[in-house]
Amino acid sequence: MYWKSLGAAALIAAGAASAEAPMPESARSCDIHVYPADGVHSVGEDFDAVKRVDQDLRDYYRAAGRSLDWLTPDRQLTLISQLPIARLIGADNSPTTMHSEPLSRHQALEPGPRQPGAGCVVEVMLPQLMLERGGLAGRSLRVFGVVRRYDNGALTRSYSGFASSSMEGFRLKAPEDAPAATSLVEQAYRGAVETVLRNSTKIPRK
């Protein structure tokens, strides 16, 4: 009788302990919502002049002979959907909703959540994309992202930061350079988004 009751107590205690132990985050399913930027912008400088915002972009399109419409919101979503978003943000097996309406940086930084809902909701907002270059520095694409996780409406994790991806080999002097240049821009976008998402799961250093 004594051993039986002791065993039952042990089982109950084990059950309680397993109920209290947090599940690994990767095993939980969340609803992921992704928001793109309104488009890409450019900042840069030459040896002799500081460029206006978007001046480089206009120059590229002029060289291409037409607007190349780089990284429109729809195109961003297409490129993002090629990435393993759920795994990158540590929420495997989570359904992802792509929102076509772009967000500005200011909107993305507003306190959330944008999507009300019970359970786990992760919002991935990528509101700023910048083509950057310097007189003595190479070209790259920088993505600013905000990743927030809510559990039952309460903010449990927040990250805002940027990552850049090199665009080595970029060249756009004539219309025939446009396809390769576009491909490089998109490749850099995917790389930078991947890094932002990966960084969002890192525990901040004290």
Partner: protein, 252 residues
């Protein structure tokens, strides 16, 4: 007259004399009150709808309910030119620039990101622009599209379509981050204030800069940028406050 009547009468006389004694103090209080008014007026001027003009006491309630739209306008434009420069122990020059080129590129983008047009205008709008610039009560109109920097000094006419008789323009012209090996990190912001006289005269143009140190900005790639961005915005606002004080000195 009964004894009770005498008591009541003396009480009345006493209260009357006390009221007479208190009257000068009340008068002093009422004369002190206007000293607070300018501050209240300044506070009201900070918002887009300033304090209504003084109305006669007998004005109908309908008039009191609708404050008059200010006659003056302050139009605000953000900057679209961002610079980042690091001078190491070599003291600047080509080699120094080459060494810091990649870092400066990142910092320039970070500036352009945290202080994009929307960010600049938002941080300026949270300040009491009208009173800081010592302008009459003005309606604040913001323009999200930055002006071409090359035209800012050349064009002397109004940069908006407004025909307001009392009209001013505040233009953020440059945002400059500098890290010096000796002095540390700082953000310098240039502003231009153009006040147009009624009629078709040329504006009074004043230019100045504000600069303050940075302790957190820039964040490294991968780090959370919240604190660095907040500091940048706060220093941008501080720079404007400093610039506004410089404008006031220039107008003396």
């Amino acid at each position: 007259m009964t004894r009770k009547d005498i008591q009541v009468k003396s009480l009345l006389i006493l209260s009357a004399s006390l009221a007479a004694l208190a009257a000068p103090a009340a008068a002093q209080n009422s004369s002190a009150a206007p000293a607070i008014e300018p501050a209240a007026a300044e506070q009201a001027a900070s918002t887009a709808e300033p304090a209504p003009a003084p109305l006669p006491v007998a004005a109908p309630p309908a008039l009191l309910a609708t404050p008059a739209e200010p006659q003056c306008e302050l139009h605000v434009w953000p900057a679209e030119r961002f610079q980042a420069m690091t001078t190491g122990w070599l003291g600047g020059g080509l080699i120094d620039a080459a060494i810091h080129a990649e870092g400066d590129k990142a910092r320039r983008s970070h500036l352009a990101s945290a202080l994009d047009s929307e960010g600049q205008l938002h941080s300026l709008k949270t300040l009491d622009l009208v009173s800081l610039l010592h302008l009459p009560p003005s309606k604040i109109v913001t323009h999200s599209e930055a002006l071409d920097r090359k035209t800012v000094n050349k064009i002397k006419t109004r940069r908006s379509n407004s025909t307001a008789p009392c009209y001013s323009e505040l233009i953020v012209t440059d945002v400059f981050y500098h890290k010096a090996a000796m002095w540390g990190r700082s953000l310098r912001t240039s502003f231009m204030l153009r006040q147009f006289p009624e009629g078709a005269g040329e504006p009074t143009i004043r230019k100045t800069t504000g600069g303050n140190g940075l302790k957190i900005f820039p964040a490294k790639e991968g780090e959370d940028t919240t604190a660095a961005d907040a500091e940048l915005v706060s220093v941008f606002q501080k720079n404007f406050t400093e610039a506004a004080a410089n404008f006031a000195k220039q107008s003396r």
